[in-house]
Symmetry: C2
Subunit: 113 residues, 2 copies
DNA sequence: AGAATATATTCTCATATGGGAATATGTCAA
DNA sequence: TTGACATATTCCCATATGAGAATATATTCT
């Protein structure tokens, strides 16, 4: 088996830096593809391909208006990632405490030396 | 260019479901490789390879003790992902409000019909 | 030294990628 | 209908993947 498809879930889709840029850009308000191309300075086909991936995993919604298509980030789909990473919050808080403790121990050793 | 390496950053490393499983397992306390193999039911070489990726991006730390190697999740390295996804929190909260509003509008339409 | 244990690396392979270039599709206007 | 505009898809290619199998490395014990 090769690497999981980028379209297999939000984790894979979001691994691409440009897709993260697009999601950030489309979070505040919907935008037509051309705006994304212009603002992020990417090639149009590239943007279309990224949007396709994002749509497939539900990270963006699309609305057609004439010949334009307006995309917008579906923040709700990012929530699971936030929750998964949030599981580790208590650990990094503990780790900081431990690092601090270790630093204080080192200070004591210095004093004893 | 192909897809970015899994070792290029935490986002890419974490896209693999097994690596997420490993990170969760190693968050609470350090464990030797054999424990991961046994608990998660993966092949030993597979676990070693995943650990290699996780180490390369700083998501786990390693300590050797005799012939065993103890790995442990470095939660701090997950923090950037939590923070990036956290940027969208205000949007999904707004979205929920909007969905609620839309539902209420629909109720009104029903009443008017 | 030699054997057993714990972990890591190498190899092959099917598969997917993202970029670039070219082209296709869909929509509006004249 | 023809042309212009907006977006999407297809093709090619270099590159990386994860699994499996085999093998290598490192460490301890006898």
């Amino acid at each position: 088996m090769a690497r999981a498809a980028t379209t297999s879930d939000a984790f894979n889709a979001v691994a691409e830096p440009r897709r993260r840029d697009i999601l950030s850009y489309l979070a505040l308000q919907e935008r037509p593809v051309g705006d994304i191309v212009f603002t992020l300075g990417l090639e149009q086909p590239s943007v279309s391909k990224h949007l396709r991936v994002l749509r497939d995993v539900g990270l963006v919604n699309m609305r057609r208006d004439g010949r334009q298509k307006f995309y917008r980030t579906n923040a709700e789909a990012i929530r699971p990632l936030h929750e998964w990473t949030g599981e580790f919050e208590r650990f990094w808080k503990h780790q900081l405490t431990r690092i601090k403790e270790r630093a204080e121990e080192t200070e004591e050793e210095k004093e004893n030396a």
